[in-house]
Symmetry: C2
């Protein structure tokens, strides 16, 4: 399975694509940015086009998006929500399976416990993907962690859904 | 000028299109809905397609979108934010001028004071557009009010921008 992780944000939107298998490996990782001094609608429009281009280029089987919550900074939380809205819409339209994970779920899956510090998550991502260096910037590392989290969670989630649906 | 007002929401997204001039009149009004029992990404994807179809059909010169804030209901606020994100992105991509107005700015423009009750706003929208009945449902009335607000505000805003930019 080929999974694209996306850590939504308006100023910085991290992405990381991972191919599953016995030894998962990173295919692409980076950060989409929009200029802070441009009007909000133009920034959202630019991000939307870049996300759609990324989906068209990579054609992932699944997209794992960080589930957004209200943070202390209300201004940031709204733009993160707006960015996540268009990421989820574009991902669903691409035909990929779309899943959302909380930061704690990602940390639990990648580092073994939900309160793991950021640096430990980055070291685990590096180790799991066999990278020679710590993945950078942090937004790209978070996105790779999201993709790894989905690769770890999806098989069980599918089995649960199959059993709950009455299949075998 | 032809203005499309949009009151973003995931379960109910109101729209109302108004042509300006000495006597503005309503061209279209309604509500886009997505089923509450479907997964969030699918609902956002469906809303995105409907908004883009609406923009392609109506081809407004400007789109006036309600500025979203955090309300008491945090769950709703996030989905409203997500819906507004894709509305703003699609509107900017359509080439239309995009403006955002707070509910108070809309009430001020349409009813004369920012704390006007919903019913008074609806009566004023009816009167300003020469409608035989109160516009319904409420979401469509709010969207028509947004369009009227933009028609009232845009000429002054453009003059201010021209003077501030050093033009005449």
């Amino acid at each position: 399975m080929f999974v694209l992780g996306i850590d939504p944000g308006l100023s910085r939107c991290g992405y990381g694509a991972v191919t599953g298998g016995r030894r998962p490996h990173a295919v692409a990782a980076g950060v989409l940015t929009t200029p802070r001094d441009e009007p909000l609608p133009d920034r959202l429009a630019a991000l939307d086009l870049e996300i759609r281009q990324l989906l068209a280029e990579l054609r992932p089987d699944a997209v794992a998006v960080e589930r957004v919550f209200f943070q202390t900074n209300v201004r940031t939380a709204m733009s993160v929500g707006q960015a996540s809205g268009l990421v989820l819409a574009a991902a669903a339209q691409s035909g990929a399976e779309v899943a959302q994970y909380t930061p704690n779920e990602v940390k639990q899956a990648v580092a073994g416990f939900g309160a793991a510090p950021k640096e430990q998550v980055q070291r685990m991502v590096q180790s799991l993907l066999g990278l020679t260096e710590r993945p950078r910037p942090a937004d790209a590392a978070d996105a790779l962690a999201l993709a790894l989290c989905h690769l770890a969670s999806a098989p069980l989630a599918r089995r649960v859904a199959r059993i709950a649906g009455g299949g075998r």
